[in-house]
């Protein structure tokens, strides 16, 4: 894998029977960047993400994540990534603290490390009064922020976020992105999908999938120039509509 890259995808193809979900994808993700993975539902994003997380095998193509090969070294991948999906991934009937202890334990963190990092987290997020509450009793915005913190608790090299800010109020959304920026500053690469195209602007680079293929990739500025658009929303619409014609 090239220096500076944390994900390398070469000619990734994924077929389900005769249906081609991912059609010859080629891209890299650089270390410590925020990579936006955009596309309509059904474009093939979720399929690709599952492959990158070591949850399924490609039909063909070469995929390396954090230096590990997706065919033979899935364990290596799993140890080095974090994941947060739209469905929160926290256990509703456990408290915040219990959720963190559980997930951190799975990633092999020692008791003392969990304890110290947990205390730091409580301080940083200001959740002293929330930490012993059941997750199901938390307001939505907090669930999201805590889920993210859990996903990066073990300081993975890269964290995959699947529509993390769906339905959340505008302030929490921005607080969430503050957390993302912090994570990136500490060296974590962030791979995020979203339907909020203003969030696409916060990414260093963005790729847009249409019908199983990557139709565009580059920095937001590059794409806006290329497609003569004033914002990412326009770029997206132009690309997706073009495909329809």
């Amino acid at each position: 894998m090239k220096e500076g890259n944390i994900i390398e995808v070469e000619n990734l193809v994924k077929k389900f029977g005769s249906f081609v979900a991912n059609d010859n994808l080629c891209f890299e993700v650089k270390k410590s960047e925020i990579f936006g993975f955009l596309g309509a539902n059904g474009a093939g994003k979720t399929t690709a993400i599952k492959i990158l997380c070591g949850l399924s095998f490609p039909t063909s193509g070469k995929v390396t994540v954090a230096g590990f090969d997706v065919y033979k070294q899935r364990d290596g991948i799993r140890k080095n990534i974090g994941y947060m999906s739209q469905g929160f991934s926290l256990y509703e009937d456990l408290t915040v603290k219990e959720n963190i202890q559980f997930y951190a334990g799975i990633y092999g963190l020692s008791r003392s490390l969990i304890k110290s990092r947990f205390e730091e987290l409580v301080l940083k997020l200001g959740i002293e009064d929330l930490k012993d509450k059941f997750v199901r009793d938390l307001p939505l915005g907090w669930k999201q922020k805590i889920a993210f913190s859990v996903a990066i608790f073990h300081k993975p090299q890269i964290v995959f976020l699947d529509e993390p800010t769906s339905g959340v109020d505008p302030i929490t959304r921005r607080q969430f992105w503050d957390l993302i920026y912090e994570a990136v500053e500490s060296g974590i690469t962030v791979f995020v999908t979203t339907h909020y195209l203003d969030e696409a602007e916060y990414c260093n680079r963005v790729s847009i999938m249409v019908d199983g293929r990557i139709e565009a990739m580059g920095t937001p500025d590059e794409l806006k120039e290329k497609y003569n658009s004033k914002n990412m929303d326009d770029v997206f619409v132009k690309l997706a509509r073009k495909e329809k014609e």
Binding site: A40, N41, D169, P170, T172, Y181, D221, F236, A240
Partner: protein, 307 residues
Amino acid sequence: MAEIEIHNLCKSFGEVKALQNLSLTVEKGGFYGLIGPDGAGKTTLMRIMTSLLLADSGSITMGGLDPLKDYKKLRLKLGYMPGKFSLYQDLTVEENLQFFARVFGSSIDENYHLIKGVYSQIEPFKNRRAGKLSGGMKQKLALSCALIHKPEILILDEPTTGVDAVSRREFWEMLKEIRSFGITIVVSTPYMEEAILCDNISLMFDGKIVESGTPDEITSRFSLPVYSVKTSDIPETLHVLRQLQGLKSVNSFGQQIHVVPLSSKTQKSDIIDYLSINKMNDVSVTQIEAGIEDCFIDFILKTEEIK
């Protein structure tokens, strides 16, 4: 009397106050938006409108009818699209539409002209099972099913959530066409930018309506100036600006940062100077009109302050 009149509606589920003293009116043929994040109470409000839930207190009339007593008559007049496009996954597109048409004593042909704009886009797929449709197509099907019996009032609960930007745009365009048939429409959405597409809106947060009116009215009520800072390094600029005194809020908005000062004492030049001092010269600062999202953020901050 307005088509929909709601006064001081309250609804709690156990300890949770889902709706607190809500009031709003919708004129006949109007296009009304309920804008707010999850947990604001939009779904609860819509379920009360459709007579699926009963309010604890307050009054509500829908098309002159009381959802408590006249729900049978009311339900004939309503078209409802609940969240997550509740469709029969194992029925085909056409079978779903036929079912909903017949349940309302109508047929696909009778009101085809109403749904044509929408349905024609999925008609090529009419033999596909609803479960196998993409999000955008499910949306169109659900809308067709809600319209097929020619309702007077159409209630759509977050029809654009979880759907890509293109489908969202198309959907709002479809809604505009439906308006021309004189149908009163109430839509809820968490996407702020969709607010301006409505005639009148209510911004909802935490069970309350924080502001109502036309989008223009709401934004013009915003009394403080808003400065847009264009920069190539958002995180750093955010960080720097947050240290500046005299600012009410500093928030990222795509590729800009919106800065709202506490009063007009802080001027554009103050911001530029401060950024300069911090070696951020590759920026441009302009004053802009407040948008709905700016207003919403401001309201949330006010609400949090009160807490």
